[in-house]
Structure formats: structure tokens, C-alpha cells
């Protein structure tokens, strides 16, 4: 038996001189990193670097134009939480928004998915149709519903007509301070809930049928099955989406900006719409950046809650 001894190069100079080492380095280190670099550089340029700059910017009084930048420490944050009442209002609206989106679409989606999971014939058709609103652009969805909620020519007016009433349902839902935010949430949900439903349906369909048979043998009715087989079966998806929707609630922008721009009188203002106006219309870039950091902290906080729960042994 021939004994083949290869001396391993140790110093860098030796390594570079060694042909096989060079080839290995090229194949296992250099080329892979060349593959990774373009996307990484774009991502650093668009996300990471501006994110760090955003934190710095939030500590200044920069207007967004010119060279006059003064470091003001945490002044912007102090103003946000202790002086700016409109921010408190916007934050409150975000929390109302979250309360809406953590209940209404989840109930609709769970209920619908449970119904759909049992349907064999036509299931695919339902699935496709119910998913359609989700693929529409926000500009289109908001245009459709702006018309449908028009006080003179919308659904409300038609209902009034039908019942022989006047101006009971035919009101400007989007134009009144008490109903604007909920109307926008309703419209956004029209677009969104089908997506949630599809996720739950997919998750329900991966529950082993045996479990349902076992439940039936134990004399479970449909509610028992849902409660003790379906819900635990989709729990990972359910909780994960709970986290995502909670985060998204702090990022909400499109529908509010397109439908009311935060009005009337700030009634539907959320942090993101306020940030947008501060940074791009009102020359308060530093203040807007601080709001961005606050949104991120909320998002991070929600993620932390879920990570902690998972560490404690929850199956998320």
C-alpha cells in the first residue's frame, strides 16, 4: 500500500504558491462571494446604509434641504411623545387599526377557510375568486370603493332609496371624522382577507385526515373538530400571521394616503402618513426620520414578544 503524504501549506505565501489550495480558495470562497456581492451591495446601499443614516438623522433638526444640520440629541423623540398631540392621535389610530386587523380579517379568514376546507367540488373556483381582490393594486381598490361609498351615488344611497329613507346610509363615510378610519380599514380588509384565508386553507389542508376521523369516533361535532383539531393544526400559521399583521399595522400607508390623506382633520392619520407629510411636504426630515425609528422600534418590539414566547416553548 502506497503511503501518500501531502504537506499542508501553512504560511500565506506557501498557500498562495500551492496550486490545489488556490483552486480550492477560488472555488469555495472567492467565486461564491462574487456570486453574492451584487445583491448584497444593492441591499446595503438601499436598506442598511440609509437605515443607519436614518437613526442619525432622527437626532438632528435637518429640514431635508440645505446644509444646515444641527445635532439635537433626543429632542425629536421628546417632542413626539410629550409635545406633539397629533402624534399621539396617530399612534392611537395605529392601535385601533391593529385591533381591527387582528380580529376582523382573522375571523373572516378562519371561518371561510374552515368552510372551504370541507368543500370538494368547486373548491378551486371559490379559492381563485376569493383571492382576486388581493392581486389588485391599491390605487384601483381605493378608486372602486371611493365610488361605492359615495354618499349620493354609492351603496348607501341605494340602500336609502330601497328603504325609502333619506341620508341614513347615504353618508360620506370617508369624509366624517367618526367613520373615516374604520371605512378605510374595511376597504383595506376587502383587499387583504382573502390572502389570509388562502394561508389558513393551505395550513388546514396539511392536517392529517386521521385526526378528524379520531375526533369523530370520540363523538366530536363540527365545532369540537374545529376547536380541537383544526385550530391546533394551523396554530403555527395562525400565530405567525398574528405577528406579521401586528407589524404591518404599524406600517399602514397606501390605503389611508389614497383615500383620505389622513383626514378629515387628522381623524384617520397614522404614523406613516404623518411621517410622509413631515419628511416630504413640511421640511421636517429629522422629525420624520424619528417617526421612522419609532415605527421600527414598535415592529422590533412585536418580533421580540414572539421570539420570547417561542423561547418559552410555544410552538410558533
Amino acid at each position: 500500500m502506497a503511503v501518500y503524504v501531502q504537506t499542508k501549506p501553512t504560511t500565506i505565501a506557501e498557500k498562495l504558491a500551492d496550486e490545489t489550495w488556490r483552486r480550492k480558495f477560488l472555488r469555495n470562497v472567492l467565486i461564491p462571494w462574487i456570486f453574492i456581492c451584487p445583491l448584497l451591495i444593492i441591499h446595503l446601499y438601499v436598506v442598511a446604509i440609509p437605515a443607519v443614516q436614518g437613526v442619525y438623522m432622527s437626532l438632528t433638526d435637518w429640514t431635508g434641504v440645505g446644509m444646515n444640520v444641527n445635532f439635537v440629541g433626543l429632542d425629536n423623540y421628546y417632542e413626539l411623545f410629550f409635545e406633539d398631540e397629533t402624534f399621539g392621535k396617530a399612534l392611537g389610530n395605529n392601535i385601533i387599526w391593529m385591533a381591527f386587523f387582528l380580529t376582523v380579517p382573522f375571523i373572516m379568514a378562519l371561518f371561510c377557510a374552515a368552510m372551504l376546507a370541507q368543500v370538494k367540488r368547486g373548491g378551486m373556483l371559490y379559492r381563485s375568486i376569493l383571492f382576486i381582490p388581493y392581486v389588485l393594486a391599491s390605487v384601483v381598490t381605493t378608486t372602486i370603493w371611493k365610488n361605492l361609498l359615495n354618499p349620493q351615488r354609492g351603496i348607501g344611497a341605494a340602500v336609502d332609496n330601497l328603504l325609502g329613507l333619506e341620508d341614513v346610509f347615504g353618508v360620506a363615510f370617508l369624509g366624517r371624522p367618526d367613520s373615516a378610519l374604520m371605512s378605510i380599514a374595511f376597504i383595506d380588509n376587502w383587499h387583504f382577507w382573502g390572502f389570509l384565508m388562502i394561508l389558513f386553507l393551505a395550513s388546514m389542508q396539511s392536517i392529517p385526515p386521521v385526526l378528524y376521523d379520531a375526533a369523530k369516533i370520540d363523538g366530536a361535532n363540527r365545532w369540537d373538530e374545529f376547536r380541537h383539531v383544526t385550530l391546533p393544526g394551523i396554530r403555527p400559521t395562525l400565530l405567525f400571521m398574528y405577528m406579521m399583521v401586528a407589524i404591518w399595522s404599524f406600517l399602514a400607508f397606501d390605503y389611508i394616503f389614497l383615500l383620505t390623506q389622513g383626514g378629515p382633520g387628522g381623524a384617520s392619520e397614522v404614523i406613516a402618513t404623518q411621517l410622509y407629510k413631515n419628511a416630504f411636504f413640511r421640511f421636517q426630515a429629522g422629525y420624520g426620520a424619528a417617526q421612522g425609528v419609532v415605527i421600527s422600534i414598535f415592529a422590533g418590539f412585536i418580533i421580540m414578544i414572539f421570539v420570547t414566547l417561542r423561547r418559552r416553548g410555544w410552538d410558533i
Binding site: 472555488r27 467565486i31 461564491p32 456570486f35 453574492i36 451584487p38 445583491l39 448584497l40 444593492i42 441591499h43 446601499y45 438601499v46 436598506v47 446604509i49 440609509p50 437605515a51 436614518g54 431635508g64 371561510c112 368552510m115 372551504l116 376546507a117 370541507q118 370538494k120 378551486m124 381563485s128 375568486i129 376569493l130 383571492f131 392581486v135 389588485l136 393594486a137 391599491s138 390605487v139 384601483v140 372602486i144 351615488r153 351603496i155 344611497a157 376587502w190 390572502f195 388562502i198 393551505a202 395550513s203 389542508q205 396539511s206 403555527p236 400559521t237 406579521m244 407589524i247 404599524f250 406600517l251 400607508f253 404614523i271 406613516a272 416630504f280 420624520g288 426620520a289 421612522g292 421600527s296
Partner: protein, 295 residues
């Protein structure tokens, strides 16, 4: 990401036999489902109705089916909404973003799935953390950066595509990487033994076998870009470079009372999406279910 399983129609819960009682109860299921279907469809029907009515008829009959069908709203909207330009722009944004995303994402995912160079764990952690950073944290400085580049002559459209590519980079890497990890390595090793280089292994072996992953990413990213509003609003200020979304936003603002015109415009925007959706329903739904955990 693993929390969401693939949709498989064959594995429906009701593979087991249905008793008589069950099928009777399904009447209830269908009632609920039809009601929800109506909720999803009726607003779209009203939109379609209004797009083929005259404004005069919309005034008297704003919700019902049209009595006289007119087609002229579409050429009118196309003309006045400048759709010839903006549809072209949107196609450019979509195609450029998908192409860049798939090429650059494919390369990076392959390196991370197969070669695992030193530092790749750290890189995955970076993308994981970065994917949780909300756009709002960096939009203001990014706006400044992009304006600086625009001022020295860089095309705003190119920069918007970069922003789109970066935005979906984490999702692309996670998805494509997980598809590639599912592949057995033997095939690639066999190709290498036959003398293929890394690039050939990727294009000849890995790419054909992970096509569904690329299709998924392409659809999710493409739909996202076609519908995207906020970033286009923020970074594109020349009307000749507007995508359909921001141009439609201004269009609706201008022709606020002209429902016939705006409805036709809306139909024009959703038409390509609907055609693609109906043709590739399954890929769309599964793709968005799998990878749509964004925006």
C-alpha cells in the same frame, strides 16, 4: 417561512368519505362561501359595469348593469391617462426588476445553499434582520441618496428598480435557497466530475430543477412591482417615467367626477394582472402563499 405549507388540493380534509349528514351540512358551507364570493366580486362587477356606461347613465344608474354598452371610455381613458407611456414604463419596471432579482438572487442563493463560503451564516443573519427593517426606517435618507444620484444624471427609473430589487432581496434569497437545498447534491457532483465549472453547474443543473422557485419569485416580485405605489410616488417625479399606479392616482385626482373614465382606466390597469392570474392561478396563489409574507 416554513410555517406555511404548500397548497395541495389532493390532500383536502374531505378525502375521507362523506356521510349523509355531512353533505347536508355542506349546503351551509356553500351559502357562506357564495355570500363571501359575492362580497369579493360585486365591487369588481360594478367597476366593470361603469366602465362601459356613459357618465349620463352612471348619474342615473351608478351601480346596476349597463343599459347601453359603450366602448369609447377605454380609448378615452387610454388617451387622457397617457396609458401608452405609463403601461410601457410599468412593463419596464416589472421586467427589469424580475430579471435583476432572478439573476442576482439566483447567484447569491446558489452560493449560500451550496458553497457556504466563510461568513455565509453571518450573511443569512444579516438578511434575516434586514427583512424585518420597515421601509419607514430608511425611506427619508434613501430619498436624499437617490436625489443626489439623480442630480448627477443617474436615471431615476434605474434607481427605482434598484430599490425594488433590494426590497425583495431577502425573500428571494430565502425562497431560492430553500428550493436549492431541497435538491440532491449528487447531480451537481456528477456534473463537476464531467468537468463543468461552477457557472455551468448553476445554469445547466440547478436552474432547470428549481424552475418552480424562480417562477414563484418572479410572480410575487412582478405583481408587487406592478401594483407598487409608495416608492414610485416618492422617487419618480417626471410624468413620462410614471408607472401606471402613480399616473392613475393623478388621473383619478384630475377626473374625479368622471366615473366612466376612471373606471375604464382601472380596468386597463388590472387587465394584464387578471389575464396572468387566470392563466397561472395555481402558481400565483401558491407563490403568494409561500412567499407573500411581505409588504
Amino acid at each position: 417561512m416554513t410555517a406555511i405549507g404548500k397548497v395541495s388540493l389532493r390532500d383536502t380534509v374531505l378525502q375521507r368519505g362523506q356521510s349523509k349528514e355531512r353533505s347536508r351540512l355542506l349546503v351551509f358551507n356553500h351559502t357562506v362561501l357564495l355570500f363571501l364570493t359575492a362580497f369579493a366580486v360585486i365591487p369588481l362587477l360594478v367597476l366593470a359595469f361603469n366602465s362601459v356606461k356613459t357618465n349620463l347613465e352612471i348619474g342615473q344608474n351608478p351601480l346596476g348593469p349597463p343599459i347601453n354598452i359603450v366602448a369609447e371610455n377605454f380609448p378615452n381613458a387610454w388617451e387622457r391617462g397617457n396609458f401608452a407611456t405609463t403601461m410601457g414604463n410599468s412593463v419596464i419596471y416589472v421586467v427589469a426588476t424580475i430579471a435583476a432579482e432572478l439573476v442576482l438572487g439566483g447567484l447569491a442563493a446558489y452560493a449560500l445553499a451550496r458553497k457556504k463560503p466563510p461568513g455565509s451564516d453571518l450573511l443569512m443573519l444579516y438578511f434575516l434582520v434586514a427583512s424585518t427593517i420597515p421601509l419607514w426606517m430608511y425611506i427619508v435618507p434613501l430619498f436624499v441618496q437617490i436625489n443626489t444620484l439623480k442630480r448627477v444624471g443617474v436615471d431615476a427609473r434605474f434607481l427605482l428598480v434598484l430599490v425594488y430589487v433590494a426590497g425583495s432581496a431577502p425573500l428571494t434569497i430565502f425562497l431560492l435557497r430553500s428550493y436549492m437545498l431541497d435538491l440532491p447534491t449528487e447531480l451537481e457532483d456528477a456534473a463537476r466530475v464531467d468537468g463543468a465549472n461552477e457557472f455551468q453547474v448553476l445554469t445547466r443543473i440547478v436552474l432547470p430543477l428549481t424552475k418552480p422557485g424562480f417562477l414563484t419569485v418572479g410572480l410575487v416580485v412582478g405583481l408587487g412591482v406592478w401594483n407598487e405605489f409608495l416608492l414610485a410616488l416618492t422617487f419618480i417625479h417626471d410624468p413620462n417615467q410614471f408607472p401606471v399606479t402613480t399616473s392613475f392616482y393623478k388621473f383619478v385626482d384630475r377626473f374625479d367626477r368622471d366615473w366612466a373614465l376612471t373606471s375604464a382606466g382601472a380596468i386597463i390597469i388590472i387587465f394584464p394582472v387578471m389575464v396572468l392570474f387566470l392563466a397561472l392561478q395555481r402558481q400565483f396563489i401558491e407563490g403568494l402563499a409561500e412567499g407573500g409574507i411581505k409588504t
